[in-house]
Symmetry: D2
Subunit: 316 residues, 4 copies
């Protein structure tokens, strides 16, 4: 739908393993309906593809896109296995068309404005970044079971957010918690986590995660430096506040989840992708960013399991 | 542009007294370029027209649209002369297609949510409404000179806002002020005003206006009843807040003016108009609302000049 | 109690028409118990008196205090009858000791800080002042019946607040409302009111009153000028905010009433009084301020009844 | 001064190693001036002592107070050496009079209200606590040099705050940072730190520290549970907010430091101490809390140095 609405792109091919679903989407938004993604990538007139298929297929499709010389916007993570990611790394580096990773939060207008003001020096050199990220409720256990665990499934977005501000992270110290979900605990996974990252410039980053939140999707950011603090709080649908006998100045509730909270970000992300494919000079998270986030997620897993800080070298 | 972007409407005719301007717009957004509005209204295939021409032309064009049986979305005010408005009143009442007035603020998502919650009884029966409305800076004196004065040019939006909550206003008490602009004072006009309206149910409404505001477009709404208070404050572009040595928790600045602040409202207004023209059951401000706002603006002028409360009867 | 706690004053005499009450207070806080206020005023060692007796006794006691050469802090209003106030005016002007009126809000730290910043020029020349003042619930009808009406009983505090910022008010335009209380309506009084004042410098002041408020004591102040806006919102007991499924960022409820909201103001008011009596150079609301507030309240009554703006001359 | 002002306590003895200072204080606030603390503790009529002397003297004076059977309110930390603390532990346990540790923040009205609401179950079982604590600027290097390091000098307050909510901490994972102060780095100390604590019930606690803050003393608390979130933000001197061309809704700056921010807490702490000494049933942080905070601070030091989580057993 976002592609169909874009003024600078046209929807050529809709590809879905379920033929009916592909056809229905194509009927609504235009384009040709296909069920074979490789055929879609190589189809005539295709300049770029959006890869939103299950994680295990990402490497193959990315690989095909690179080979076909078409741009690719790929959902995170690239793969759950860093070895498979590394195997693709060299080719991704020399890809003729943009390879962009779906870290949509970099395109959120609120976070982007905070990032711009930090970069403009408003708080001086960044010393501390706090990322709070809580989902309204956990995904079903069946999803969690194949998700790769909280660090690779959920925290990976926050790790990319950290790297947007502190690209060179050198150490990860993570603690995992089992606070409320017997199902998640049964899978050996955590339902909450706290991570402390260290940057090459001595920066500290704290990431606070939980798989549930009674008050909705909790997505906050705080940047601290010698000259001050910048903060993005949660975003409400409207600016209405209420005063009553029980509570005053109340607002909300917040938007439930990412499709609502990041709708503007998704549109801006796609726009940036289209512009990148057209050869314009736009900033976007690339393959290396996808790899780095996965590497940090893996380091967090080791850190949480072994109770020790894990050093990483993202420059290698 | 809004029409061109609408999924439910198509731009048929672009009409502008300046031929070049009409042509350029038509080239960009589609449609036929015309310079004669009457021709445009009567053109084949035209189901509805948006009248955004200078105020003195509104009555004639509205009249033509009603006669042609096409829907009309007309910018406020209908006319500066209530007699000319009244002359059109009967025909407007029996118009075959919707006549909608451009009171865009009723479509603002923030105000609409507050209105919905008041209507839902959250604060009990409405007792008091406070409308604060300040422009960032005054229009040029040349514009002010032909604007009909602050009450008919600026306050008229707030008067419609008042009537959205309190349809039957029975009395207007207005005080005009000359606080900062020698130019406006020279024109015999006010650069600030305070109005107190009384509703048929004993409701009080306060409107506070100023033609300037250092911190941007100031558009606030507050509704009070026995069970509480609902408020819409000013809206910021992003949710970033800043802490520094001089000030903490600072945000903004606010959007400068109405095109930014009410961009969503304009889109929703047009959407409502299109749906109304298609025969759907949607609420919108009509001819009677345009007339009532003008009548209240005139009453405010009398009240301010003569230093007395002016009774009005909007039910006649 | 405030006197007993003051480091610079000693409680000499406790006077209450009810002998038991006077004795009990004196036993707790010290001082001699009396039942005759004139005796108390003239008692040996008394340098100053606090007059918190019923309104009809104020003029006589103030008069006695002036004659005895002792300082007096008198609760508002001086009297409900402006003629009796005027009769005392000359003697008050030449009183040898301070005559202070109990307009405690001038000593509220929040309002005082806003006043200081307006005086320091932060928003430029004051153009508009908005005073919102709502009681949690109306006083009993029996009290209302002898109170002198909403303008002299309740609005008088807000009128003094207006004059603190705009000493020379030239016109009063008031509208009274009967919104919720059959009892108050039955007494011919209003349970809500809106006043617009005009200052000699073209300033506008809006006062919004209601005799009830579901969310507690509503005491807000807003000052507007060419360079910005300063605001004091309601004050909460603690800084706790709550996020839940139903509402987010909620705080409160607010303090119920004036003893809680203005506890600091009462202490600072007494301190200023003691320092004034000791001959120090402190600012405080005096007899003329008490008279001006009453005069404006009377003008508001006329304005509301007759539906017209009433001019006043506070400089005469 | 706090003691002198208390209604329930009398200042008996003022003890200061500097005789002049002791005498001056005694002259102002009353009491006998002494220079030998042991003499003060054993003086006739002394029921309780406040120990605010340098840290190395605490154990001896506490020991003397326990022996003399007088209550003691001792500043944190008890000592920098956990062995010396443990040596006193048995006697402290069987002390005939209250031994209270100066963790003043437990008495802050804002934090206490948040604590009360968590205990009342408003957010369900506590899952996560976030303590943000930044000083406006670092103490002089000379002070830092003998302070015992950031964990024992500064974080110790936050560790006690953590234990107020999560008494049984089982693991400490700390990362120290050197972000801005060459002086502190030269002393081998950290100028910023992040700690993650794990509670016996699976709770997570994050403490974020910095030795500087451009916007004043930064003291925030956030408690998260399955049913919501409670937050205490920073406290401003007054409720004034400002709107201008550069920024809107700005307040502050915040109070610079602890004497201002915690003035109410200090008064309430002393009041609780006095009531405890009088035998009333009041909650207060005792010797075991002082020991636990030191033990956690020591664990944090080991964790930061060795890059590993350190398990602790506070129940032993």
């Amino acid at each position: 739908m976002s592609i169909a609405r874009s003024e600078n792109a046209a929807l050529h091919v809709v590809c879905d393993a379920v033929a009916d679903s592909a056809r229905r989407t194509a009927e609504t938004y235009g384009g040709r309906a296909l069920t074979d993604p490789l055929e879609a990538i190589r189809a005539d007139g295709v300049e770029a593809v959006v890869i939103a298929s299950p994680t295990p297929t990402h490497v193959e499709l990315l690989s095909a896109a690179i080979e076909a010389g078409v741009g690719a916007l790929c959902e995170k993570p690239i793969d759950l296995d860093i070895a498979r990611v590394d195997a693709l790394r060299e080719r991704a580096r020399s890809a003729p068309a943009p390879v962009m990773l779906g870290f949509n939060r970099r395109f959120d207008p609120h976070f982007a404005e905070l990032h711009r003001r930090v970069a403009a020096g408003e708080i001086g050199r960044l010393e501390h970044l706090a990322v709070t990220s809580r989902d309204p409720e956990p995904a079903p256990d069946a999803y969690i079971a194949t998700s790769g665990g909280i660090f690779r499934d959920m925290t990976i977005h926050d790790l990319d957010m950290a790297r947007w501000f502190v690209p060179e992270v050198t150490s990860v110290s993570a603690v995992g918690f089992r606070q409320f979900s017997a199902g998640i605990a049964g899978l050996g996974d955590y339902d909450a986590a706290v991570l402390t990252l260290t940057g090459a410039g001595g920066e500290s980053v704290v990431i606070t995660n939980s798989r549930h939140s009674a008050y909705g999707y909790d997505q906050r950011l705080e940047a601290f430096g010698p000259d001050g603090l910048l903060q993005v709080g949660n975003v409400t649908e409207t600016a209405v506040r209420a005063w009553g006998a029980a509570a005053v100045e109340a607002t909300g509730p917040y938007q439930r989840f990412f499709l609502e909270r990041y709708s503007a970000a998704y549109a801006l992300e796609l726009e940036a992708f289209v512009r990148a494919v057209r050869g314009e000079d736009v900033a976007y998270p690339g393959f290396e960013d996808g790899r780095a986030a996965l590497l940090l997620a893996d380091a967090a897993g080791v850190s949480a399991r072994e109770g020790r800080a894990v050093n990483v070298d993202l420059t290698a």
